[in-house]
């Protein structure tokens, strides 16, 4: 299984962009109001920092993925503990994303279809992709889907230009303030921070050392699109209404009217957005199965899929309603734990310890 740099670019872009657009607008607007664009910029900076840590860390041992890397750097025992932290993240994000995805489809286009049917379709897609071709298959799909998703997002934005009222972005700064902007940036940052998964993808690259720039490009692309889309959503919907919606980005597309004739096109962006969720889920399913197999020393990682997929489906039924799926997980685990620990802290720890080891190793060699 080998992937190209371009494929990593699309993988990270799609993983970061799709869910961020749809899921983080509401929590972010609630605190940052019309200054959401500043929040997104702050979030992008945080994400760039995360990307910097991860790419630097992967450069220490370009041929090793996170499971091997943490063991090499921190030693067998501590490395395994660190990996447990990541496994918590991976095993919870899969069902949650699946559930959130289900809620979008449920609320926006298929209100009467049962949950299990919607999720089962998605789950079988990601299982098929992961089982049949592993990361290579996912990467190739994402290379085709990526441009389509981005074109669709851009078209949605372009068609909404008529509805944009830039006055809705005023007054700048006065209504929010520094802490509100920062608080508003946490949700997008935690969703954009999927570049941390680069640590699992890097060893599959044809040239692992040159992957960093693609990761950065992906983060920048995703952030700028999210910035553009969120700003436009606010400028279209207005601050008072937006926080009341579950999915303001799609609500924005509901307002599109072309020639007063073509209206209500919101199912189109939604089904294209499905592609982005597919990539995210498939990548997570892959790294979870692959990582778990490696962690438990199982040779054939594909076997793990058959255990993980049903678990994911069952877990996805746990949240009672939309609020639990979006808010509780976001505010109780994802922002306070996953963002500082999994995305910032541990990569930084690995980087520092790895560097020290490298330097001391070198001096030991010299001496």
């Amino acid at each position: 299984m080998k992937i190209t740099g371009m494929q990593v670019f699309w993988l990270i872009t799609l993983m970061s962009m799709g869910m961020t657009l749809v899921m983080t607008l509401t929590p972010s607007v609630t605190s940052a109001k019309q200054d959401i664009w500043m929040s997104v910029i702050v979030a992008s900076c945080i994400t760039l920092l995360i990307t910097f840590f991860t790419t630097q860390t992967s450069l220490l041992h370009p041929d090793q993925n996170l499971v091997q890397l943490s063991r090499t750097i921190l030693g067998k025992w501590l490395g395994s503990v660190v990996m447990l932290v990541y496994f918590i993240q991976w095993f919870t994000i899969l069902p949650i994303v699946l559930r959130q995805f289900n809620d979008v489809i449920h609320i926006m286009i298929l209100p009467q279809t049962p949950k299990w049917a919607i999720m089962l379709i998605m789950l079988s897609l990601i299982t098929y992709s992961t089982y049949s071709g592993g990361i290579e298959s996912i990467a190739r799909c994402s290379e085709i889907l990526g441009p389509i998703v981005i074109i669709m997002v851009l078209l949605t934005l372009l068609a909404s230009v008529n509805n944009v009222d830039l006055h809705l972005l005023l007054p700048v700064y006065a209504d929010s303030g520094l802490s509100a902007i920062f608080k508003g940036s946490l949700a997008p940052a935690s969703y954009l921070g999927h570049s941390v998964e680069y640590l699992m993808l890097a060893p599959f690259l044809i040239k692992p050392r040159k992957g960093g720039k693609y990761a950065f490009a992906a983060v920048i692309t995703a952030s700028s699109l999210v910035l553009l889309a969120m700003t436009m959503a606010i400028a279209t919907m207005g601050v008072p209404i937006t926080p009341k919606m579950w999915y303001p980005f799609f609500e924005m597309s509901r307002k599109i009217s072309l020639f007063g004739f073509i209206e209500n096109l919101d199912p189109l962006p939604i089904v294209v957005w499905v592609a982005s969720v597919f990539v995210k889920l498939a990548v997570y399913l892959f790294i979870t199965s692959y990582g778990t197999a490696q962690y438990l020393n199982i040779k054939n990682w594909r076997i793990m899929i058959w255990f993980i997929a049903p678990i994911v489906l069952i877990f996805a039924f746990i949240p009672q309603n939309v609020t639990e799926a979006i808010s509780n997980y976001l505010f109780n685990y994802w922002i306070p734990i996953a963002l500082p620990v999994n995305m910032l802290g541990l990569p930084l720890l690995l980087l520092i310890v790895g560097k020290i080891r490298q330097v001391s190793g070198r001096s030991a060699q010299k001496g």
């Binding site: 286009i109 992709s129 073509i262």
Partner: protein, 509 residues
């Protein structure tokens, strides 16, 4: 891989013992040889054995199949010179054979054989085998009748500005056609004989230095593995040497056009020609080849590019238009403009079937009509289309069984499927239309997008001789893109020749 071997093994088992001639050497007695040959050809009324004398003294026996031999050449070019062969030296039969080889005034080059089995096989191929008394060698002359049809414009893959010539059923002619296009000693043609009974000659054609050696070796290997009793056309082996015989998508191109094969060879692909089949196999190919025609390269590049985009667009419609129609009308009716909604609803008012069932019925009817039109003789075929158009189209709508908008959708889908130049791809898309329709009927647009995504995953898993099926779009290769979605002008594509090889090398790194 395992299963393929299994299959051919089964075939061999079934047909074992069909070839009882043992590999015995020829005898030096004419009579005994004649007896052996006659035994091999029992009940073959077209076998001719003719005894005559060289030098008026050396008895010899010519054996051939009457129906396969060019009589004029045999009479004038061989029999007469042989019978009037004057040579006063009387020596052994070995020397005689040598002199015959050197002095016969004929374009036919004689070959020698010593085994009975070989002799029989040569006779079967249409050669004349000459047994000479007291010699354990026999001479054989290739004077087979060129049983072939006229070189002709291929009935499929018609072009307006391109060459009119197409492959025919004879391997040597087909090889000549390619040689005419590419006059280079680097153009290699290696022969393989396939089929234990049919003894079909097959040629692997490639250009040395341009084609990837890996692919050539792989083709040879896979051909060598084929253990079939009969190979009567390229379709037989296409499935056996394909990477994914179970996929609906073609991973090997078959074409009837020498110019298309030559262009592919220059791109670094490998062609397999099979005697008896006017279709050459070209490999490795990508998904996008099915939407390209040779015509694209003969016409103005702008128009060529426009045609390509049109094909992609309509290929998408051919795949998904009925399912989009079902999904939107039954799940997302708010997407349709209001005035259209009401007229669509009005059209459906009297129809008894749900939209999904209605479309499936109509799609099946359409496929049936198409198949009927293809197989029937041409005049009857037209009747079928009239019946189809009038009876199904008009009467069904007027009777209120099918709604008029659906007829429009189905016919548009039909037209769209005819826009795909490659018939195999067109078939693949026709097959996949049905599961997609079911997805649309169950989950609306979500189902359609899930279905399309499943197809995409399948496509991205396909490989044709190591070349990922979606190259150069995924994995992305910018220079390759010039010839995918549009046809770039020639001066931008000068490096195109290297394309496949480059891509192969990238893959094998």
């Amino acid at each position: 891989m395992k299963r393929r071997k299994h299959l051919s093994q089964r075939l061999t088992q079934k047909l074992e013992g069909i070839d009882p001639i043992s590999d015995t050497p020829l005898s030096d007695s004419l009579d005994r040889n004649e007896e052996a040959i006659r035994q091999a050809f029992v009940n073959c009324t077209d076998l001719i054995t003719r005894k005559f004398y060289i030098y008026r003294s050396v008895p010899c026996l010519a054996v051939y199949l009457d129906v396969l031999v060019d009589h004029a050449l045999w009479d004038d070019g061989l029999l007469t010179p042989l019978m009037s062969f004057e040579d006063n030296e009387t020596d052994s039969s070995e020397q005689l054979i040598e002199r015959l080889k050197g002095h016969l005034p004929s374009v036919v080059i004689p070959e020698t054989t010593r085994s009975l089995k070989d002799a029989v096989q040569r006779i079967v191929k249409g050669e004349v085998v000459l047994f000479i008394d007291t010699s354990i060698e026999a001479l054989s002359f290739k004077i087979k009748d060129n049983l072939q049809r006229q070189l002709d414009e291929p009935s499929t893959e018609a072009v307006i500005r391109g060459p009119r010539i197409g492959f025919i059923e004879k391997l040597s002619v087909n090889m000549a056609l390619i040689r005419h296009n590419i006059r280079s000693p680097k153009l290699k043609m290696e022969n393989v004989v396939l089929g234990s009974t049919t003894q079909t000659e097959t040629a692997i054609v490639y250009i040395e230095g341009l084609a990837s050696q890996n692919v050539v070796d792989e083709v040879k290997q896979r051909l060598a593995k084929i253990d079939m009793d009969s190979v009567l056309g390229s379709g037989y082996i296409e499935e056996l040497i394909s990477d994914h015989p179970k996929s609906p998508f073609p991973v090997i191109q078959s074409t009837q056009r020498p110019d298309a094969v030559s262009a592919s060879l220059i791109e670094g692909k490998v062609a397999v020609l099979v005697n008896g089949s006017p279709l050459a196999l070209v490999l490795p190919v990508t998904f996008w080849f099915a939407f390209q025609t040779v015509e694209d390269y003969y016409i103005n590049f702008l128009f060529g590019s426009m045609l390509r985009m049109l094909r992609y667009f309509f290929a998408f419609l051919a795949l998904s238009l009925p399912s989009l129609f079902v999904a939107i009308t039954t799940y997302h009716s708010e997407m349709i403009p209001t005035s259209l909604t009401i007229s669509l609803a009005a059209a459906r008012e009297v129809v008894p079937f749900p939209a999904l069932l209605e479309s499936i019925i109509m799609e099946i009817t359409f496929e049936a009509l198409r198949e009927a039109g293809v197989r029937l003789p041409r005049p009857v075929g037209q009747t079928i289309s009239i019946v189809g158009a009038l009876v199904i189209g008009q009467a069904a709508v007027q009777a209120g069984i099918i709604s008029a908008p659906l007829i429009i959708v189905v016919s548009l889908t039909g037209i769209a499927s005819f826009l795909i130049p490659n018939p195999n791809m067109s078939q693949a898309i026709s097959i996949l239309r049905f599961p997609l329709l079911l997805c649309a009927g169950t989950f609306g647009l979500y189902g359609v997008s899930a279905g399309l995504m499943a197809i995409l995953i399948h496509l991205s898993n396909l490989k044709s001789y190591g070349l990922p099926y979606l190259t150069p779009v995924s994995p992305l290769k910018l220079t390759g893109l010039l010839d995918v979605f549009f046809r770039a002008p020639w001066n931008a594509m000068y490096k195109r020749q290297q394309r496949v090889k480059d891509e192969m090398e990238l893959e094998n790194k």
